[in-house]
């Protein structure tokens, strides 16, 4: 066990998989000598060499398309987007090629796209994207979004071993902000399995990524100030969803708050809410509530961004309303 940051956990997971399997290679912008904009791949070039750590031209369509091509012929590329926002520049490759390869061609497409995501760092409209909902709607992807160093390492390893295109959302605000115990022995976190990060009885929070930490804080507040017991379900995988875990929690508590940092409308919270309504109808004691960013681009100024984003305080208010329902 080592107490390491979220970003170190990603690096370690990548490193171990590259050691384990020579078909794994990295490609992206500035990932070589520079080690990437966030330094996830620092030292990789020196250790693994130029054939495993491939610095590319500045061109996301080429990166994502090349990753898809290499995957189709049996390599295991891990493509880095410098910021998740820039995945839009190669969108067609992902939704048209990568996602449909197996369905149409019956060939695995074992690739990973690393997406440094999320707001709260004053990045403004174009360095703050949470891109999950677009790909969540495209059959063919797996999508994971770890909240802890343990999950970050376990999921990057699982993503690399998976035979499908996996979108790996790494929240930039967690990179150096969150530390945790991570085994140094080999382990994976199974894709498609959520994790109850706090057990509770009165309200379920269904969430993932950076919001898990706010949910845990909000749960403390509710416990201490209102005596309300909150269960925090960390999805970890957005696709496939661990619906059984969600339903189990909802059947127990009867009240749900779905929380994501992404814009509310059309976010994956809508789907989760619809699934819960459909499958847990008779267990619900209150309407399924959602919290997320308001429906605007991510604004730049600190005052605006704070208003825009969900946070612990806003969650506390939503939970108190639910508790009172």
């Amino acid at each position: 066990m080592a107490n390491i940051t979220y970003i170190e956990a990603i690096s370690k997971g990548l490193w171990e998989e590259m050691e384990r399997d020579s078909s794994v290679f990295l490609l992206g912008e500035d990932i070589g000598p520079f080690g990437g904009a966030f330094k996830v791949t620092k030292g990789f070039l020196q250790h693994f060499g130029e054939d495993r750590v491939v610095d590319t031209v500045l061109a996301e369509t080429a990166i994502l398309g090349a990753a898809t091509g290499a995957a189709v012929v049996g390599m295991r590329p891990v493509a880095e987007m410098q910021f998740a926002d820039f995945v839009t520049t190669g969108f067609s490759q992902l939704v048209n090629n990568s996602a449909s390869v197996h369905y149409r061609w019956h060939i695995p497409c074992p690739m990973v796209v690393r997406l440094p995501s999320g707001a709260g760092i004053h990045g403004g409209p174009f360095h703050s994207r949470n891109p999950e909902a677009w790909f969540f709607h495209q059959p063919g992807f797996k999508i994971v979004a770890p909240s802890t160093p343990y999950d970050a390492k376990g999921l990057i390893k699982a993503a690399i071993r998976d035979n499908n295109p996996v979108l790996y959302l790494e929240h930039k605000r967690l990179y150096r902000h969150i530390k945790g115990e991570v085994p140094e022995t080999d382990y994976i976190v199974e894709i498609g399995k959520g994790d109850v990060k706090r057990i509770g009885n009165d309200i379920s929070i269904i969430t993932y990524g950076s919001m898990v930490h706010m949910a845990l804080e909000a749960a403390d507040v509710l416990q201490n100030e209102n005596g309300v017991s909150i269960e925090v379900v960390d999805l970890r995988s957005l696709m496939p969803l661990d619906t059984e875990l969600i339903y189990e929690s909802v059947r127990k508590t009867g009240k749900v708050l779905i929380a994501h940092e992404d814009n509310i409308t059309g976010g994956i919270g809508g789907e989760i809410s619809a699934l819960i309504s459909d499958h847990c109808f008779q267990y619900l004691d209150a309407p399924v509530k959602r919290i997320g960013a308001i429906d605007t681009p991510t604004p730049y100024s600190p005052t605006l961004e704070e208003f825009f984003l969900p946070n612990t305080k806003k969650m506390v208010v939503a939970l108190q309303e639910l508790a009172a329902f």
Binding site: A71, N97, Y103
Partner: protein, 338 residues
Amino acid sequence: MKKAKPTEKKIPKSKNKDFKITEEQYLQLYYYMRLTREFEESILKLYRQGKIVGGAYTGNGNEATAIGSAFALEKQDYLFPMHRDMGAHLVKGQSLRNLMLQHLGRGNSLSKGRDGTGHYADPALRIYGNISHLGAMIPMAAGVALASKLRKENAVALTYIGDGGSNVGDVHESLAMASVMKLPMILIIENNQFAYSTPVSKQKAMEKYSDRAMGYGIPGFTIDGTDLELVYKICKAAVERARAGEGPTLIESVTMRMHGHSAHDGAEYVPKTLLVEWKKKDPVMRIEKLLMDKKILTTKIKEECEKRVFAELEDATQFAVDSPYPPAEDAAVGVYAD
């Protein structure tokens, strides 16, 4: 850095000096040319009979380009054909039955009915078909070329794009990547005078598509795409170059789309004179005449070839028509690999 010449029309000197086409190869090529032409005619007939599931795209006029280029490949090389390159599929080893099944959307087709026409992959033959989005296969071809380079496979990736499709951003990004990394990739721009209804004069302002090669520091050629020998030899040189680790080549193959954009398109917008002009350069006729002149092809061989082609087509058509559609519930499986 080697300075790319804007366009070289001559065949670059080979290191092996071994681009001679044997008699046997000539006859093989002739067979593929005839087969492709007749296969596509069959497709059009099936289309008119309402047996094709979706649209039907044919490459009448493009046979020499498709066949000459694919003939330059070896078994280990990767082919990413476009919608007018049926001949390339055949040369690379694809069976008529499989191609027919694809067009008829049958359950035993390579795509199991999930996609049609040339939209399939056959890893054993290293054929990876296109998707509809023009240009979208080229980044994948670059990726396969990259894989080949990283694994030291010595395999080349050959791909195609139309005069219209060449304007899609994917083409540029792929050429930028492939040229910088010296990937073993060849891109053939099939300039067949039209992109659907749009004449090539509305797709480009430069003289020729090979003028774009210089912008990536790679060799560029503009060639008569109805000349089977020329296509083969240029491509062979490009393959050799790619295999030697010297990087990609851009080839503009100038041809004419002799049919409509797809089977439903009467192509009234195409000036008749243009068709008359190009008819004289019909690639199938050209090779036939050449081989007759060379006395490689005799009337007897020709007739045998035709018999073989029609028999094979008969077989494939019947086989495909008799094959069932996939079971409906099959639609739900296979989004993910295990």
